[in-house]
Symmetry: D2
Subunit: 367 residues, 4 copies
Amino acid sequence: MSSFLGRCFHIATWGESHGGGVGVVIDGCPPRIPLAEEQIQRELNRRRPGQSEIVTPRDEADECEILSGVFEGVTLGSPIAILVRNKDARPAAYEEMATKYRPSHADYTYDAKYGVRNWQGGGRASARETIGRVAAAAVARQVLNALAPGIEVLAWVSSIQDLEANVDPESINSEQIEDNIVRTGDPSKVEEMISLIKKARSEGNSLGGTIEAVVRGCPPGLGEPVFDKLEAELAKAMMSLPATKGFEIGSGFKGTLLTGKEHNDHFYMEDSRVRTQTNHSGGIQGGISNGEPILFRVAFKPTATIMTEQATVSNTGSDTELKGRGRHDPCVLPRAVPMIEAMTTLVLCDHLLRHRAQCGEVSAASQ
Amino acid sequence: MSSFLGRCFHIATWGESHGGGVGVVIDGCPPRIPLAEEQIQRELNRRRPGQSEIVTPRDEADECEILSGVFEGVTLGSPIAILVRNKDARPAAYEEMATKYRPSHADYTYDAKYGVRNWQGGGRASARETIGRVAAAAVARQVLNALAPGIEVLAWVSSIQDLEANVDPESINSEQIEDNIVRTGDPSKVEEMISLIKKARSEGNSLGGTIEAVVRGCPPGLGEPVFDKLEAELAKAMMSLPATKGFEIGSGFKGTLLTGKEHNDHFYMEDSRVRTQTNHSGGIQGGISNGEPILFRVAFKPTATIMTEQATVSNTGSDTELKGRGRHDPCVLPRAVPMIEAMTTLVLCDHLLRHRAQCGEVSAASQ
Amino acid sequence: MSSFLGRCFHIATWGESHGGGVGVVIDGCPPRIPLAEEQIQRELNRRRPGQSEIVTPRDEADECEILSGVFEGVTLGSPIAILVRNKDARPAAYEEMATKYRPSHADYTYDAKYGVRNWQGGGRASARETIGRVAAAAVARQVLNALAPGIEVLAWVSSIQDLEANVDPESINSEQIEDNIVRTGDPSKVEEMISLIKKARSEGNSLGGTIEAVVRGCPPGLGEPVFDKLEAELAKAMMSLPATKGFEIGSGFKGTLLTGKEHNDHFYMEDSRVRTQTNHSGGIQGGISNGEPILFRVAFKPTATIMTEQATVSNTGSDTELKGRGRHDPCVLPRAVPMIEAMTTLVLCDHLLRHRAQCGEVSAASQ
Amino acid sequence: MSSFLGRCFHIATWGESHGGGVGVVIDGCPPRIPLAEEQIQRELNRRRPGQSEIVTPRDEADECEILSGVFEGVTLGSPIAILVRNKDARPAAYEEMATKYRPSHADYTYDAKYGVRNWQGGGRASARETIGRVAAAAVARQVLNALAPGIEVLAWVSSIQDLEANVDPESINSEQIEDNIVRTGDPSKVEEMISLIKKARSEGNSLGGTIEAVVRGCPPGLGEPVFDKLEAELAKAMMSLPATKGFEIGSGFKGTLLTGKEHNDHFYMEDSRVRTQTNHSGGIQGGISNGEPILFRVAFKPTATIMTEQATVSNTGSDTELKGRGRHDPCVLPRAVPMIEAMTTLVLCDHLLRHRAQCGEVSAASQ
């Protein structure tokens, strides 16, 4: 297991789908940052189950408790521990999974690696695990607000199966994303996306899609070559989320079709600021942010749990069949939007502090 | 800067394009592993400049010297330092870049972050930086040979611009890849790819493309959820290479078009081994290898340096123009193949050792 | 803050003296290790306040709850979160400390570093912080029991002020230490030590002393030169405990008075095992355990909190006076014994796993 | 092996006594720091063999070469690689050690751990290994000069065997230490110390002693509780040096004899600065520097290599005898002085950068 992330804003998450709860410890958070449980709860509410008719009906309020590291409304610089109890656990629904491996789930590989597995729900491989990430990111967001307030992080559903949204990353805002239960930024596609998801669920099936994200107002200078280039850190952060299958930055895979003459982003001066005419680079060059919007896209596979009989094997090595049970999202995309934003925020916050360590304040060094 | 990678097989690379040289220190390498300079040199030769008519003509033998950590032909368990001197440096060719930022290069962002930059060649952002990675991976390969000899790592050029190769990852072998200077695995596309690259160079232009990779014979059990899932670690490793724009594993972005019923990989028993009918998962489930071939694809942008006048800005903030000079690859893909293999090997070796730490020998725990 | 420790057995502690509680997250614990709350509680009881008449009367049961990482009585390999609530908090007793710095406490330096401080009790600098360490070590002890069952870790009070105990590290056992409230291993000194501590308390004063520790049955091969030598890791672990002022291994400071001829430990064969005639090395040579008992000693200063008026300054920069209040140990040594054992166990467990990563199973490699 | 140190100022050392050389890679060094080889060479000269009549006669100039990370006289922010070649190697002198373990050396434990060993000289366990540390610290010193110029680090020999120097840490300066070949700060003891060492050598014997160190001008606020307290980091750094047996800070072991009333350091205001009347704390409280001089002491055992026949065992497990050969220091203390200063400087530099990461500039946060 490796459940810690970040060199300077160091987080350690814990918890299984069924058990005492889930949570996170944050070490290295700057002191004197205003922080209240409400700020964390707001983000947890965006990822919680039961929030709409197209997500899992598991009924969890996901109420958070800050156990340490905050005093009289500000951070102390000491570790911040956040706890969310599991409430609506129904282990009985998973008994068959104790001995049968769900296809395209982590059941078999956890057994292969650890020789033991909490078969109630997804165990550690459950999406509940991301609660600790989202909570930590809400704290990281407060740090950014204090140290680099101009940084905006937004994500939205850019496609469900082959249905694509049309969104302008320069102007999209959080209200546009949050005002629909799919969390797409294109109002013209909302109804169709909802229908698609409902249809999949009614057929005992599931869907995947893509999420797009933008970071606006990121100062130039974040990211640490050669291994911790900003896009490398973002790629790892995104690909560590459940159900992700791909990551691309800027021009991405389509950029391979262009020639150098077409792809290069020419520089120009806008007042005293260095800008680029195009942004195929996606806001990062040589692993370091260049001040342009950071743009990337993440692919999510269709949910592995489907309400359909499937061929599989047992943990004693015999062929068998298994039908999905329990409560699940027919499409993880709507709830994955806050997760993508959370991972982005965590990476930026860590790199902001890392930049201070090596180069001093961002404002002094690079703006 | 963050030029170290790996928790247990810990490497620290160093060096600029122009200067004393480039190299790597490897800490944590298991002892008693047979190791000779020839094994490292073989891999360095695959990435070195001047190796064919479609790569940069910079004339570097890239001869390596093992400075420590090896005694009487085997590793000692102590740090292995490897040095490659820079020989054919021509700083004069870069003088204009001292004050002008090359579009889509790291010139501007390095200045923005560090306030200083070695403008001779690409400095630390040069692809020469990858020599340390390739050398370290040659050592990691020896570790795999000793501890998990069945693991095969292969990469090949799967597309140049829109010209796609047709390769079967189950059967492709290294001879097929190495017998052509493009390093594609599809003999029917070799000539066309070479022509495409030569044409781009003759026009002062450049091309991108994709590289595909497979890991065959990987035991189940490698990878550490939740943050260091095997695909997350691979994604970071690949996206830390120069010029990469995207990463996808298994079904990748195309997998988002499938439904759960189509996408799920059903398990079955093959003798006493758990197998899957399909491999949309790309050999990894829940962040842990499942014993199927690990399959992924990486996007490379067209080389930023082109022999064409381009608009840009100076380091004093005025608009200007710059024409590419120096010696460059019109297409980085052929030389990137050994880099992709190297990064894959480094990730696998680190995770093999990490698995031993937590779970004991791979053979005992998971085969 | 840096509240995480260990490369492979990675722990992150959290919590302040007054607040939601204290605890720890353990990442990297091997799977399938038997673990129950009772095993943790037993160790917490040894360090808890109110356990005897010579320690602080603060009334805390320090009951622990395992929140994750354990299923059906064994570890899962996933993070183990352990929570202990603060119960008997009395912030009112500390109000004067909100503005006045207690001499030889961390009040001033926390303010100097973080610009903010939880003045209720010792905040993060309280000895309550060690609950997370002791809980994590109880888990580490279970790991040692499974992977290297012969390793015994024992500590005892070897002096209070100038009153020294006479203990044979080869034969001392835990019953001898636990059967007296001072936790010395010399029954002839128990009453005198208790009297000394009671006298100090009655005078509003406090005492320091030394704790000695032995590791018996440690296999040769643990420790990682050059920076993570076993004695260096032990030194750091001990010096990170509150109130410690010194660490010495084997012959220690007294060894500087010997010549090389006197100090060298001659090797001899005992059956097929390499032994040393003397043990000035303290069981570690070149940073690696040699199979002899590991022997070290730790100095603890007298408790800083005394019930006496002392000169100090306020947080607004004026000279003032302050008299100790709250509930405190007149001598931390008796309760520090389990802490020393805990830190030793954590270091050994981490290095056992690290050894497996680089060199394979301890049994195969070095016994 | 664990040959890297420091979270933000991250160094990786490499090299054996006999072989290609020794060196270091520094990652995370701030950019734009003036750096020349002369600054590194000066420190290497202070630790090099052959520098006086009381140290080993091995004839090494220890000339360093900066291979990367520096351009036009300043650091680039990229990794700084420094190389020192081994020149005067005489492996023949060590042939007997290929099969016999030197008492109190690392020969046996390296074999026990790694199953292989470079028996030429001390291999990785040789004091030559510290060249990388001293070189890295010379760079760290330049960083301190730029970012916290008031910090002075001084160490001196405070005792040889039972002969103690009398030195005032508040006023001692580097000229007083460097003007004698023992590197003690007490001129009245120089001749006697030299005689003692020469006598030991002439008898084929060796001596140990203690080194004392002071950090003056350290700003309040450095150090990271709870595990990376400044004294814990210093303890680890010192105990990772060859031949060290003990570490104490401030009042140290003698402080255990005092009561709380005697030991507490009372605060008072000196102009606008918080000071303490006494300094039993040794400049660190709660793991964080308080602005007073940091004072600590390190114990070194007598050199293990003595020119005397000693009982030992062979690597095939039979009792035998061995007489020391090769060229060695009869007393490591004089050459250990720059090593102690180096390790101190490395810890301070790392914590200065870590402090910037979490709390911002030291000047803003705590002065």
